[in-house]
Amino acid sequence: LNAAGLDPTTEASIRELIASGDHRAALERAKTAHKSCGTAASETLLVDAYAERIRSLLQRNLTVEANSLIDLVRQRYPSARRRLDGLIAPVAERRTSLNDVVRPLNDPDLAVERRAGIEQTIKQEIDDLAALARCDALACDHPLRTAAAALEAAFVAVSSGPVAKEALALPEISHRSALAPWKSLVRAIGSFYSGDEEACRRHLAAIDAESAPARLVPAVQTMLGDSVATLTSAAAVLQDQIIRPSTFTSALRTLDQAFAAGKRGPILKAIRAAVQECKGSSPLQLEALKQRISVRCAMLELDVPKVAAAMRGSSLHDATFLRLLARGFEETRDPEHVILACKVWEDFRRAAVQEGWFAGNGPESAALGLRIANLAGELPTHILDELRSMAMARQSTSGEMFPDPDELYCRACVLDPHREAFAQWMEWASRSHSSGVERAASVWHQARPRDTEPLLRLLQAAEARAALPTALGFLAKLEQIDPELAAIRGTRFRLLAGALLRHIKDKKTALAESDLVAIGALADAQQGDRPAFGLAARVLLAAVRDRPDEAANARVELEQLLGPTATALLFFAVATTSKQRALARLPPPSRQLEREGHCVPEAVARVSVLSGELKLKFELPWSWIREAADQFPRACHRLEVDALSALGDLALASHHDPFAYAISAAGLERGGTSEARFLLLRGRSVANDLTRFVVCAKAATELARHVHDIGLVEQSVELIRELSEFETVSVTLAQARDVLAREKAAREPPSRNGRSPDYRDLVVLCQCANCRRARGEIGDPFDDNLDTDDDDLEDLDLPAELPPDMPLEVAALLMEEVKKAVRRGESFEQFKARMFEGMLPRKRRKRRLRA
């Protein structure tokens, strides 16, 4: 709308013209005003002017013109329709005969606009073709009369009996004619009766929705089964007269109702009646009906002999039946039926090949194999294992094999080796934690050597089992296929680093030396802290070779690069990974701090990032974690996002939840695309509060999806996959942003008296005691007050206070175990036995117990 608005003077002048009866001039000026303003007020003024003009036309008995104008205004200004309805009644009352409407068409000089108005009226109002065909106001050979006569004849013909398609050509009616909708209607009715339902739908779609014939469209659509709209009483009568249900149809409806109710007695009775009727009225469909009945009964597990008796004989078990049965078993989702579906699909395959539906080794067989594999793959692992062992027991006698998903996928992929099938196999293998991932990848790679997915999997598997030459071989293939592949960036450096540390571990110093040379020659060897790794490895190699001077020199160089703290940490990580920890004693952090001041979090983060990249073992002693946590508030602003993230992972791995919480707060403060990552960290740092954990994870998933961080999406989905009680919780993007804001505001970790974000508006969970206990919300006597004289605690006969020299972390671990003991209902003796027996050498255990 134009912001300029309607000039009050202009409006006043137009209203004056209306009041004075000069409606034509008022309308013209109102049109001009609305054209220039385009506001709601100018539209109201224009509609007012139209309304007065229509009234004046009606007063002069110019009904057709008034009618046309009403249609025009209703079409252009839909908001004014209701107001114009008030004007339609008088029009209808004043509407004179059909002759009055069409008479002006005799005038050869009739204005184009007026002719269009009359034709529009004809299109919308004419519901009696015979009257138009006999209309005296037009000459006998007037095209409108001849068209109406032809249509009338065709309409009577198609509604009274079969008509040839050619008889409905009706060339005298063009698609621009006012009677074109009638032509479409007649053709639609013809197609309806001839059974050409698609043509019928096409003709119905061609009928102008504003035309009179359009009133029949819903009735025809309902009879076609395309619509369930409520029909007018006349339309309902028409439907009943045309499609009067036969006794067979009535029997089928009763059968449908019986199956919907699911009661055995009425089902069997309805089967008897339907089969009886089918024999009489549609015997060719009898077998198909019996097959469908058999399948529905099998789905409901009804007694087979009784069903066969009701049908007066079993149904034919051919490929058609087996396919329907397999689909039926699939539909129920019952694991037992899914197992049956697997078997029946295989039976179908054999029957279909035998009946000539398709070849035994073609794409159809591959599609079936994939279907069966997917079905078997959906079964819970314990059921699969049970079935496998049962099949193995039977195999010696019957030779029957259990349809193992691995074998089924393999068979399908070999028959039709396409990426989608292999990806499904791989996905199943990964999901079921089967050792088959490598096999799937291997078969995939053999069939499609240019696909990168299997090579990546094979590389990962080889690296995981430290088969580094093999891994390097796969990497070389990947580099050849796509040198820019993001997934292999930095892989060669990591693999060579792994080989180097392994050679140091095995004291193969010459090989380690050549590894170092190879690493140094890599193009990306100087990226980030990678040179530091090379130096740390050189220090270690020199130490292993017992060359102290060489080690000292390399260490000085390393300290110049990283500083003493990070050097100590990196050397510790490198030595631990190559099982040379004796050569890398990590001094307590306090001694380091005296020399260096507050840099522990930075050093830890830096080494964590490098360790993550090179898959080094970086298991920091608790004292270092605690020191990093203590110093974190003063150092966090100096850390990059990646360093924060690596530190967060380390805090979680060390079970230092408050530290992880503080890191998440610092990360969330940074904003940007990494927010999702730190929101997930926040959730993981409060994992004891399941609701908050799940909400944070789901919100992180949504935010990560929004920024296309697929890795994070997969990680967060995996974290909550097992929490079935939260399956129904869903978080929209807007809600995720709200969660983010709430978590940003909650800077302090949860405490007994502090307030955590409340997500009851997002999570509606069952509040029964069992479900709350399962979520850890009740039933834990230690949650509220650790120092109370709780009955359970008294029963356990715990010492009054902890030994003064017991480290806090040991006390915390002990407390966790005590909680588990309470939940399990263990006695103190049982608890002691579980905790200490079998863990210590006998002699030491005795001494310890005495102490």
């Binding site: 519901d127 009696d128 309409f155 009577v156 509604s159 009274s160 009996g161 009715i189 309806f192 009766y193 059974g195 698609e198 096409r202 779609a205 061609a206 009179a212 014939p213 009133r215 029949l216 009735a219 009879m223 089964g225 007018t232 009483s233 006349a234 339309a235 009568v237 028409l238 007269q241 045309i242 499609i243 009067r244 249900p245 036969s246 067979f248 149809t249 089928l252 409806r253 059968l255 339907a274 549609s282 469909q285 198909a288 009906l289 469908r292 399948v295 529905r296 789905m299 396919r323 329907l324 689909r327 039926g328 539909e331 794409p363 159809e364 599609a367 079936l368 279907r371 039709d416 396409h418």
Partner: protein
């Protein structure tokens, strides 16, 4: 395929063993009959049907797995069991006149 779905082969007016070329030709012919500007709903159905059938593997899957085992009996066997009776123009005109 559920009871409410219309068979894509039927929409395109082709046989179950139609080739890629036949499917494409049938699709183009149907789009010419029902262009998106004149019959948007019909065009949508035609487009969806073509999407379901253009990939040979999807076509095979449709052919093999699209049967609906729980379709109502009265729908599956309706076409031949309920003949359409000719009733003359009167009942049709009554619907038109009852606004």
């Amino acid at each position: 395929m559920t009871a409410n779905d219309v068979d894509p082969f039927e929409i395109l007016g082709i046989s179950l063993d139609a080739s890629d070329d036949e499917i494409r030709a049938a699709y183009l012919a149907r789009v010419r009959e029902c262009p998106p500007d004149r019959s948007p709903d019909q065009f949508e159905k035609i487009r969806n049907a073509y999407e379901k059938l253009r990939d040979p593997r999807a076509r095979i899957r449709h052919r093999l797995f699209s049967v609906d085992p729980v379709a109502p009996f009265s729908t599956v066997f309706a076409e031949t069991s309920a003949p359409r009776r000719f009733v003359g123009p009167g009942p049709w005109l009554n619907v038109l006149k009852a606004k």
